[in-house]
């Protein structure tokens, strides 16, 4: 994908090309900047360096293998790729998912969201050169990865969900451990705030920087925390509830511009911090309502072939709306699996709002977008 600024190219500007590999970039991508002194005048974004042919790979393998491939949509938050595929397939096959499996899915999704937001905070800290908090954040994230290992045997590519449920039941004491981790992170958030969130240096680097206008949010199709930080209230969990999110009481945080203005880099940081708190509240509610029973629809085995039909499922991943259009022709392999990933819209918006910012602010602005190039390139 090449996103070019709509303005005509000015010849009096300095040309800077950053990437595809650079320490200030979150993943392989290329930025072509035209600088007026230290101010970015124009920007072009080029991606595609991480294309792995994921959608084609899914078409070449049996249905069950597609779940494992979906792990690689974004390995940091593997559960979201698996979940959106399972939801689409379950709609085509009219598969009933046991309530216990639904609750396990919510627990894993919210743990993944917390984990992803902690990694986002790590990127922000690295962008402003704050090393101390990085170690604290990664230490706490390890506790979540421990939970993934406990339930799925893997820390990243979980390959845990199945059509009609999950691959294994949670073990005794898992829920208690989830609550322990929530309690721990709740205490640690205060620590993060003391050390980092309202640190003078961090505020100076991230406040009033990289403001995204709500009009740009709408025109680029941005969703998720970046859109909500700009005041756009849209969350798939609330607007189009799935896997039983409508049975729980939770709020959707919106940007308030506490450190600077609504929609700036610091607001995006704060919003994710609030989303961590919100996810922990949600986990607490869900953990009280995990029914006893089956964790997998017994009629669905590993040889299950999806009947002919199509469906479109959407979920709220840690970065925004993740959509999946699945088509089955009744054969053992998918006919088509198409993905709509939130990072594509975030990339589309970059040339529009980085114009006018200083070059030294660019790493902070890019980190504040939480770009997932793996999911954008597929």
């Amino acid at each position: 994908m090449t996103i070019i600024s709509s303005e005509p190219v000015r010849a009096d500007l300095t040309l800077w090309e950053i990437g595809p590999y650079h320490s200030s970039l979150p993943a392989p991508m290329r930025l072509k900047l035209r600088l007026d002194g230290e101010i970015i005048a124009q920007c072009e974004v080029e991606t595609g360096y991480l294309h792995r042919g994921l959608e084609k790979a899914c078409e070449l393998h049996p249905w069950r293998a597609a779940i494992a491939y979906m792990d690689h949509l974004d390995p940091e938050v593997a559960i979201f790729g698996e979940l959106v595929l399972c939801l689409a397939v379950e709609e085509i096959g009219e598969i009933i998912v046991p309530p216990r499996a639904q609750r396990i899915r919510i627990i894993l999704a919210e743990l993944s969201r917390i984990s992803a937001h902690l990694v986002f905070m790590v990127r922000m800290a690295k962008a402003v050169g704050s090393e101390t908090i990085v170690h604290y954040l990664l230490r706490d994230r390890e506790r979540i990865l421990d939970l993934f290992e406990l339930v799925a045997g893997a820390r990243f590519s979980l390959n845990f969900l199945r059509f009609g449920g999950v691959s294994a039941d949670i073990t005794d004491g898992f829920i208690e451990r989830v609550l322990d981790v929530c309690d721990l992170i709740r205490i640690r958030i205060k620590e993060y705030n003391d050390i980092f969130t309202f640190n003078y240096g961090f505020l100076k680097r991230s406040s009033f920087v990289g403001k995204i206008d709500p009009i740009l949010v709408k025109s680029s199709g941005m969703t998720g925390p970046n859109a909500r930080a700009s005041g756009i209230s849209f969350d798939v969990r609330k607007d189009m509830p799935y896997i039983g999110y409508d049975q729980f009481d939770f709020e959707i945080p919106l940007g308030r511009g506490e450190g600077g203005i609504v929609g700036d880099a610091h607001d995006r940081f704060l919003l994710r911090l609030r989303e961590i708190t919100q996810s922990m509240e949600l986990l607490k509610q869900v953990s009280d309502h995990v029914p006893i029973g089956e964790f997998q629809n017994e009629k669905i085995d590993k040889e299950y072939i999806v009947p002919p039909g199509e469906a479109y499922a959407r979920i709220e991943s840690s970065r925004g709306l993740l959509g999946c259009h699945v088509v089955s022709d009744g054969s053992p392999c998918p006919s088509r699996i198409q993905l709509r990933t939130p990072s594509v819209a975030n990339l589309l918006a970059i040339p529009q709002f980085v114009s006018g910012i200083r070059i030294e602010d660019l790493p902070v602005v890019l980190a504040s977008l939480d770009l997932g190039i793996a999911e954008a390139d597929r």
Partner: protein, 179 residues
């Protein structure tokens, strides 16, 4: 939202533009099948429709079914919260060749990356003014890559530049082995 009223409104603005309405999936709303040449006019009408205000192209998906390419637009409104699926189909003049299809990136700017991806993977050139220039931008695939990988008749090359491989990508083999 009354789908029949919407279809009649569209038929008034673009006579013959709407072909039929069909159910999409099991839980999604009805899909409206439209004439490929009327895509831009209908897209504009849906965006400007006072009742629907479909200001957001949530997703654009291309599916090949029996050599027919079906382009599906998943539309949504952030104002009215309505959603709609519209679909149009096209057939390439000859197998393996690129073909033109109306672009909606001037109506929904977020459609640009989705159209670019479909261009590269399916060889559908999304055009604003029925330009006859076939220039598929290459971003994901290597520069000299031949063919459109997501087409059903695509054959994986056994060699690309100096790289060779012997792995079979025959889907029919996969089917047999999984059965």
């Amino acid at each position: 939202m009354d789908k029949n009223a919407l279809v009649s409104r569209l038929n008034k603005i673009i006579p013959g533009g709407v072909l039929e309405t069909r159910r999409f999936g099991r839980s999604e709303n009805t899909s409206i099948w439209i004439e490929a040449q009327a895509v831009q006019k209908i897209a504009m009408a849906l965006k400007m429709d006072t009742e629907m205000k479909l200001d957001w192209l949530e997703n654009l998906s291309v599916v090949e079914f029996e050599k027919v390419f079906i382009v599906t637009y998943f539309l949504r409104s952030l104002i009215t919260r309505h959603s709609l699926v519209i679909r149009a189909s096209a057939v390439p003049v000859s197998p393996g060749s690129e073909f033109l299809f109306p672009s909606v990136r001037n109506i929904w700017p977020m459609g640009l990356p989705m159209e670019e991806e479909a261009e590269e993977m399916f060889g559908i050139v999304f055009s604003l003014n029925n330009e006859t220039q076939f220039q598929v931008k290459v971003n994901r695939l290597p520069e000299n890559w031949k063919g459109f990988p997501l087409r059903k008749d695509y054959v994986f090359p056994s060699q690309f530049e100096d790289i060779t491989h012997s792995r079979s990508f025959n889907k029919s083999n996969q089917k047999k082995s999984s059965l």
